[in-house]
Subunit: 180 residues, 2 copies
């Protein structure tokens, strides 16, 4: 896991991959699968939609920290498995063979097997809409990984895998933030 | 454009495609390119991050209505073009050869050339975070269209095209809402 400049961290979430969100509490580490995320700015700030129906929510709310980890297509069965059981009765790191790594700033663990990780602080919770506002404080990318294709949850039990990449950098130049 | 059951509308946005958002004001129709969206529930409720820096914001705020249209890979240069000019001085429907269609509920236009359209009402604006909360009130899918691959903006001037689709419906059954 090499550090990734924070100015580029939003590019991990903007294309809409399904992510794993880790938390740490007195009970240990937990992880949930989340597809409802949004980039809010380039600092970078993100939102998740989550609430008391997710077991991780209590730890997220209390610790005010989490890590957003980005899995790839070869991890699809871990992504689905994590999303269909609960940390209330399962040690998901053990169950799904995930290796927790210590971050630099937050206590929630990075996931060694993922393509990228973003350490995040909770900066606000908009309770009315179940929106958790996060600020990324450190980011990492596994530059040695061959499989880089992320997954996009459709919501009907199917997942779309990243296909070809099209370059429009020249035309987009006026809209790109510094450092990207 | 065939009607799509509202219970399935969230599946258009959950995989994170770049979208076009149309509005209507006394000055006419406008459209902007947005990648910062999030699904919030299955009713369906969505958020956009936008604010006064987008010309469409005034119309969105005043009319409390918009349409989210989903373009596909063959429309990439319209998507980029729409995102790099402003409705303040450009009739973007004319400039980019888009055909406005009347919706059933809101006054903002559907875009005929897009794969899908969702008519939306603004239900709240969380000003502190520039979050616009939308409720989808009608949805449409062009079932005759051959090109169905959507675009995912990375944010660095590149776009990832939908690749293969993987089916995990059986394993996900416990998590899928009714009607999907």
């Amino acid at each position: 896991m090499k550090p990734l400049p924070l100015s580029k961290a939003f590019t991990l979430l903007e294309p809409g991959p399904v992510v794993l969100v880790t938390t740490r509490s007195a009970q240990g580490c937990n992880v949930m699968t989340i597809s409802w995320t949004m980039v809010m700015d380039f600092t970078p700030r993100f939102t998740l939609t989550t609430g008391p129906w997710n077991h991780s929510y209590a730890a997220l709310k209390k610790s005010k920290e989490c890590v957003i980890a980005i899995p790839t297509v070869d991890q699809i069965d871990q992504v689905v498995g994590i999303g269909t059981c609960t940390g209330a009765d399962t040690d998901k790191f053990k169950q799904f063979g995930l290796t927790p790594l210590e971050g630099q700033i937050v206590k929630a663990p990075l996931i060694k097997e993922c393509l990228a990780n973003i350490e995040c602080k909770v900066v606000d919770i908009v309770s009315k809409h179940n929106i958790v506002v996060l600020e990324g404080v450190a980011a990492y990318l596994d530059t040695t990984r061959k499989e880089k294709r992320t997954l996009h949850a459709v919501g009907d039990g199917t997942f779309i895998v990243d296909g070809e990449r099209i370059n429009r950098k020249r035309l987009m130049r006026s809209k790109l933030p510094p450092g990207v």
